[in-house]
Symmetry: C2
């Protein structure tokens, strides 16, 4: 398995990224090769400085870098040799089984649409995030920011996409799908959630259990929580801030520690023809290693093929 990693993306690139790749060679299964994508001389001299070499680290040169603040579409058009563009080229040509970056999220999203493209039938690819559960298991919520405004049909697809992810990647037998809403009862909510409820209820591909509320994120009610990207983004950032506040107070707890982005490492882009994970801009080496681990689980589950199965049926 070959996982391409954007060596130039992230606030602490390339050092933190390369350190993360080195850490991953020590932690991940031996069949995994990490392909560092970026300025070859920079990567090589850093590896030399660290006195590290491994047959499990490869380098593919990319001359340009898309920085964090750049406009995604413009940057991708103007920088065809950027590490993000080259990473997607490797993914598209199957020289890599997955592509990871802690760089410009918008460029990663747009790059996926331009290169590997959405799975046929998927209206809006989305970004998912893992959800720590109090019982020790892991769920998923989606979208967390790619689609601020959603139609009911899009939320229905998020239900299918999340169900498929929970089944094949998280290994949950018949994942429970819940719709984030402001009350439990059918009929509650916005015009959007009221309509999405009916679509999800009638969807035979999934196990829809009804509405869930903000208080249900961490309990057993649902394995998959469906929401528009605006709501999901607020939830994600609020959860991260709770972790940060606890960390600043030296409070530690096995459950709350799972709110730490470092422990998960990244968020998969789902509904595209390829395995893509995006990471936090501030990613540390540990976060990068865990992002690579997450990417390997997507590859093993062959998740994008499963999305194709739903929509080709």
């Amino acid at each position: 398995m070959r996982i391409a990693l954007d060596a130039m993306g992230g606030d602490f690139a390339p050092e933190a990224i390369i350190d993360g790749a080195i850490l991953a060679t020590q932690r991940l299964k031996e069949d995994i090769t990490i392909v560092l994508v970026g300025k070859k001389d920079v990567i090589q001299s850093y590896l030399k400085k660290k006195d590290f070499s491994s047959s499990r680290l490869a380098i593919v040169h990319a001359d340009e870098v898309i920085s964090m603040g750049e406009h995604p579409t413009k940057a991708l058009t103007q920088k065809p040799n950027s590490s993000i563009s080259v990473g997607y080229y490797l993914l598209k040509t199957k020289e890599a089984d997955a592509f990871c970056s802690a760089g410009n999220t918008g460029a990663m999203m747009v790059g996926a649409m331009f290169s590997v493209k959405a799975v046929e039938g998927v209206m809006r690819p989305c970004i998912a995030n893992l959800l720590p559960k109090l019982n020790g298991s892991t769920g998923i919520f989606l979208d967390v920011g790619a689609n601020a405004d959603c139609k009911p049909e899009v939320l229905e697809q998020f239900g299918e996409i999340g169900y498929t992810y929970a089944k094949y990647v998280l290994g949950i037998k018949n994942p429970k799908v819940g719709l984030m809403n402001l009350g439990e009862e059918e009929g509650k909510g916005t015009v959007l959630t009221q309509a999405a409820f009916q679509l999800l209820k009638g969807n035979k591909n999934i196990n829809f259990i009804g509405n869930v509320e903000g208080r249900d994120l961490f309990n057993d009610k649902a394995d998959v929580v469906v929401c528009d990207g605006f709501t999901g983004n607020v939830i994600l950032k609020m959860a991260e801030s709770v972790y940060d506040i606890m960390a600043s107070k030296n409070m530690s707890d096995p459950f709350f520690d799972r709110f730490n982005y470092e422990a998960v490492g990244g968020s998969p882009i789902l509904g595209v023809n390829g395995n893509v994970v995006i990471g936090h801009g501030v990613s540390s080496p540990l976060a990068i290693a865990n992002m690579l681990n997450l990417a390997s689980s997507l590859v093993r589950a062959n998740i994008s093929e499963h999305f194709k199965e739903i929509y080709s049926a």
Copy 2:
């Protein structure tokens, strides 16, 4: 000052409510009389059982009770002698300066609209919630559930209402108003938040500081966080669940303890001609006492008069 309290509203009514009123007589300033609204014989016999009497507790009889699950509009129409209807009657006729209930939230909201009515010029009254800040201060976010779908003009008014509340009730000199969004930059967000941003930016009545994100709820960035009622409800319930999880793990911290609904006691309904506070269904006596305290602060600040000032200008 006379504060009417729905003795029959809440999961543990009337006992927990009356116990809360008793607690309030011990804690609140001496100029406050609490008017228990509900079945007189039930209230009297409970007070007798507790062997408590005080000139600061009055009783106003109400023959009927609106239960938690009832349809608000139907219930208010069919039960004109319910404790909620009678409570609003006291508020409207100025026999009470404020009205509090831990009962049916929808009925409290609709009751406010039917009786004291929205302040002229206010499109959509809303429910606000206090926001504990890491620096020890207190902010406010609104709406938290009364208005699931909002227009940009309504979010703009929430900014004005929240600003006014923070200024007169929380005593913040020139409160910073932020718009909950999925990114900091102008231009980010949904169609709704993009349009609301422009309105808030152009509003001369308030001190708009731009977008805030889920991670900014508890920091200094904004004193007032504006959001639609769907988003606010998710935030509120998620915060409550974080507190509940910490409590279940015996984790305690002065900051996170302020997430406990009991410490605040309730959420004011803002933008109506009267001081109204609604409480959590599960309200304990402590929560009720604190809800009464919150109501007294609204009365002292004369908050609904300040709303009138904005919209009569």
